[in-house]
C-alpha cells in the first residue's frame, strides 16, 4: 500500500452528498455511501456521520465533464471517479455519466468505487496489490466484498487499530510506561504512603529505561522506579545512594545499545554500567559528544533508527557514534519536524512498543515512530503524566488543551 502523506487529525468525520446521481434513488445512495464508509470504520476507530447541510469533512458529488476542480470527467468508462487527500480537503467526486448500480453486475458498482474513493479521502494512495481495494483498476462487481489485508494495514498505519471497546472506548495501548489497561489489576500490591512530591509537581528532569529493563524517572536529587502505571513501592530514593557519583538535577539521560547509561548535566556527562560509574567520569560533553550542545533539555535513542537524539530549546541534534562526524552539518533542525511536539522539552523516553514518549511540565506526548507524528488517541495527547505514568490519585486523566 502507499500513504499519500496527510491524514485527518480527528477520528469523528462528517460527510454530505451535495449532488446525487441521476439514475438512483436518494435513499438507496445514502445507504450505499454509508456502507462504503463502514468498510474503513470496521478496522479503525474512525466514525462517519452524515449531514445534510453546513461544513463537513468530506463532500460527495455526482457530476459530469468539467465540474470546477480542473480535473474533468470523460464520459462513460475511463475515469469513474476521483477524490482528494485530506490535505486537499478529502472531497469525493463521481462521474455521473457512468451507469451507477447497487448490488448488480450491470454498470459500475457504486459501493466498491465509493469505498475506494473514501480510501483516498482518508489519505491512502493507490496500491500495487492487484487484489487490494486501493488498486487503481475497477475489477467489476464483487457480490461478496472483503477488504484486502493490504488495505487493512494501510488504514491502520494511519489511524491505528480499532479499540476493543467497540471503537468508542479507550484504546488499551493508550499510555504509561506500560499500556494502561482499563480493568483493575487482579492483584494490587499494598500501597505504602509515599512522598507525593511527584504528584504535586509531575515535572521531571529525565526518564530512561535501564539495561535491565526497568524504567526510571529522575527529579531533583530523587529518582523513582516506575511500574506498569505507577511508582514502585519504596520510592523515591536518593540519587546519591542509588547512583553513587551522580549529582542531582540532571538534564538528560538515555541507555544506549551497549547497555551503558549516559547522564548529562550542564557541560558534563557520566557513563554508568548498571549503578556504578564506568570509568573516569564526568567528562566534557564537547569531548565525548562532539557537535552536541551542553545544558540539554532531553535525550533519547530513537526506536525508528537506533540513533541518539538530543533536544535543546527549539532544536534537536542527531548523533550517530558510528559516523564521522557523528553530527551531520545539516543539524540542528527544528523540533517542529517532530509533528505535534512542543519546544523546550523536559525528558524523552524510547519505548519498545513503537512509540517514543516526550515529557514537558505535567504533560506527556506519545509519538508514533511509524507515522512520525504525535499519536492520535482518545483521550488526545498531551495527557497528564501524573495520572498515566506516576499513578497519582485525584488528578485529571485528560488535559483541557485541545490537541490542535
Amino acid at each position: 500500500y502507499a500513504l499519500q502523506g496527510s491524514r485527518w487529525r480527528v477520528k469523528g468525520l462528517t460527510y454530505k452528498i451535495s449532488k446525487y446521481p441521476k439514475r438512483l434513488k436518494r435513499a438507496d445512495v445514502d445507504a450505499e455511501i454509508l456502507r462504503a464508509f463502514s468498510v474503513w470504520s470496521e478496522f479503525t476507530d474512525l466514525t462517519f456521520t452524515p449531514k445534510t447541510s453546513g461544513p463537513v469533512h468530506i463532500e460527495i458529488k455526482f457530476v459530469e465533464s468539467e465540474h470546477g476542480d480542473g480535473d474533468a470527467f470523460d464520459g462513460m468508462g475511463g475515469t469513474l471517479a476521483h477524490a482528494f487527500f485530506p490535505v486537499f480537503g478529502g472531497d469525493a467526486h463521481f462521474d455521473d455519466a457512468e451507469l451507477w448500480t447497487i448490488g448488480s453486475p450491470r454498470g459500475t458498482n457504486l459501493f466498491q468505487v465509493a469505498a475506494h474513493e473514501f480510501g483516498h479521502s482518508l489519505g491512502l494512495s493507490h496500491s500495487d496489490v492487484r487484489s487490494a481495494l486501493m488498486a487503481p483498476f475497477y475489477r467489476g462487481f464483487e457480490p461478496v466484498f472483503k477488504l484486502d489485508s493490504d488495505d487493512v494495514l494501510a488504514i491502520q498505519a494511519l489511524y491505528g487499530k480499532r479499540s476493543t471497546q467497540g471503537g468508542n472506548g479507550l484504546n488499551p495501548t493508550s499510555g504509561g510506561a506500560y499500556p494502561k489497561t482499563t480493568q483493575k489489576p487482579i492483584f494490587s500490591p499494598p500501597k505504602t504512603p509515599r512522598d507525593d512530591q511527584l504528584c504535586r509537581d509531575p515535572k521531571i528532569d529525565a526518564l530512561f529505561n535501564s539495561a535491565d529493563g526497568e524504567t526510571y524517572a529522575f527529579k531533583g536529587n530523587k529518582y523513582y522506579r516506575l511500574t506498569e502505571n505507577s511508582v514502585a513501592d519504596g520510592y523515591p530514593k536518593s540519587i546519591s545512594d542509588g547512583w553513587p557519583g551522580l549529582p542531582g538535577d540532571i538534564d538528560a539521560a538515555f541507555t544506549y545499545k551497549n547497555g551503558k547509561t549516559y547522564f548529562f548535566k550542564g557541560t558534563k556527562y557520566w557513563r554508568f554500567n548498571g549503578r556504578s560509574v564506568d570509568g573516569d567520569y564526568p567528562k566534557e560533553i564537547s569531548e565525548g559528544f562532539t557537535g552536541v550542545p551542553d545544558h540539554l533539555d532531553a535525550a533519547m535513542v530513537w526506536g525508528g533508527n537506533g540513533k541518539i537524539y538530543f533536544f535543546k530549546g527549539s532544536k534537536f541534534w542527531r548523533f550517530d557514534p558510528l559516523k564521522r562526524p557523528p553530527v551531520k552539518s545539516s543539524y540542528p533542525k527544528p523540533i517542529s519536524n517532530w509533528e505535534g511536539l512542543p519546544n523546550s522539552l523536559d525528558a524523552a523516553l524510547q519505548y519498545t512498543n513503537g512509540y517514543t514518549y516526550f515529557f514537558k511540565g505535567d504533560k506527556y506526548y506519545r509519538f508514533n515512530d511509524r507515522t512520525f507524528a504525535v499519536d492520535y488517541a482518545d483521550p488526545p495527547f498531551p495527557r497528564p503524566s501524573g495520572h498515566w505514568w506516576f499513578g497519582c490519585k485525584n488528578t485529571p486523566s485528560t488535559t483541557d488543551e485541545e490537541n490542535t
Partner: protein, 86 residues
C-alpha cells in the same frame, strides 16, 4: 479530430496518472519525448500494475490502460521533480 494513435493515447494515460511528469517533453528536442523517459514511464506502469516489465506498449499493457479506473494519480508526491519531505 482524427483517431488518436495508440502511442499518443498511452502518453496521455501515463501523464494523467503520474508516470510521465508534465515536463517530460524536452523543449531542446523540439518538444519531443526522449526514449529513456518514455521507456521508464511504461516500465513504471507495468511494474505498478503487476505486468511483465518490458518497457514496450504491448497488448497486455494497452488492455490494462483501457480498463475503467479511479482518476487519482498512481504516483503521488514522489519522483525526481517532486521534493520529497521526510
Amino acid at each position: 479530430t482524427g483517431p488518436v494513435s495508440t502511442t499518443t493515447q498511452a502518453e496521455i494515460y501515463l501523464s494523467q496518472f503520474g508516470y510521465l511528469p508534465a515536463s517530460a517533453r524536452n523543449p531542446s528536442l523540439g518538444g519531443l519525448l526522449d526514449a529513456s523517459t518514455w521507456t521508464k514511464a511504461v516500465q513504471d506502469f507495468q511494474s505498478f500494475a503487476g505486468l511483465n516489465v518490458t518497457g514496450e506498449l504491448d497488448e497486455e499493457t494497452m488492455q490494462l490502460m483501457s480498463l475503467p479506473r479511479c482518476g487519482v494519480r498512481d504516483k503521488v508526491g514522489f519522483g525526481s521533480d517532486n521534493r520529497s519531505k521526510r
